[in-house]
Symmetry: C2
Subunit: 122 residues, 2 copies
């Protein structure tokens, strides 16, 4: 279900986080569904269980999953929109901070955003 490249400069646990978020956003993983156990996934991917645990902790800190010691990790049942907004918030704060420092207006910011998204989708 998931794959990992140990040679990538992107940390293994980040690779996992990205894949799992994508799977949730696409509806491949649904609310309440149980994730593979830390040891099981670690064994499949040939990495240390702590590495998978780290990924799960990142996901839990963004409320994408809920984890219960002794039971397992489960896809969160919070509204997906809410979770996604929380997940992107830090990036927005960063952008706004820089925009403030440079005195860039909201309108300018929005124009740049629209343009950039169009460019990225090509």
């Amino acid at each position: 279900m998931f794959t990992v490249d140990p040679k990538s400069s992107l940390p293994i646990y980040e690779q996992l986080v990205a894949q799992i978020i994508r799977a949730i956003a696409r509806g491949l993983l649904r609310s309440g569904e149980q994730m593979p156990s830390v040891r099981e996934l670690a064994s499949n991917l040939l990495v240390n269980p702590n590495t998978v645990s780290r990924a799960y902790q990142e996901l839990e800190s963004c409320n994408f999953i809920v984890t219960m010691r002794g039971k397992g990790s489960f896809i969160s049942d919070l509204p997906l929109e809410q979770v996604k907004h929380a997940a992107i918030q830090s990036h927005i704060v960063t952008l706004c901070t820089v925009a403030d420092e440079l005195s860039i207006s909201n309108d300018d910011l929005y124009q740049l955003l629209i343009q950039t998204r169009e460019d990225l989708s090509c």
Copy 2:
């Protein structure tokens, strides 16, 4: 004119970059004006000339200043708006990339932006 804290976790050259950008955005440094030389500023701040040079290079890569070997570094004469947009572009790309991954719409993004900027100005 500028100050620096060697004990800060923020690198010295980043501290300099931030201060100089702020000074330009506020009009304290004007188009065409010559910056202090690398050695002079380094000597004032008690840091290595390369550290100042690094800051100047960052600024030049964002087109805030123009630098000429043997002559000195000068505040860019590009339109300020253009320079500011270039300076914020990388943050926008990051945000858009994450938004794509989470399938967040432009409208949602804009709402979050507006809200965050209001919150920050309090």
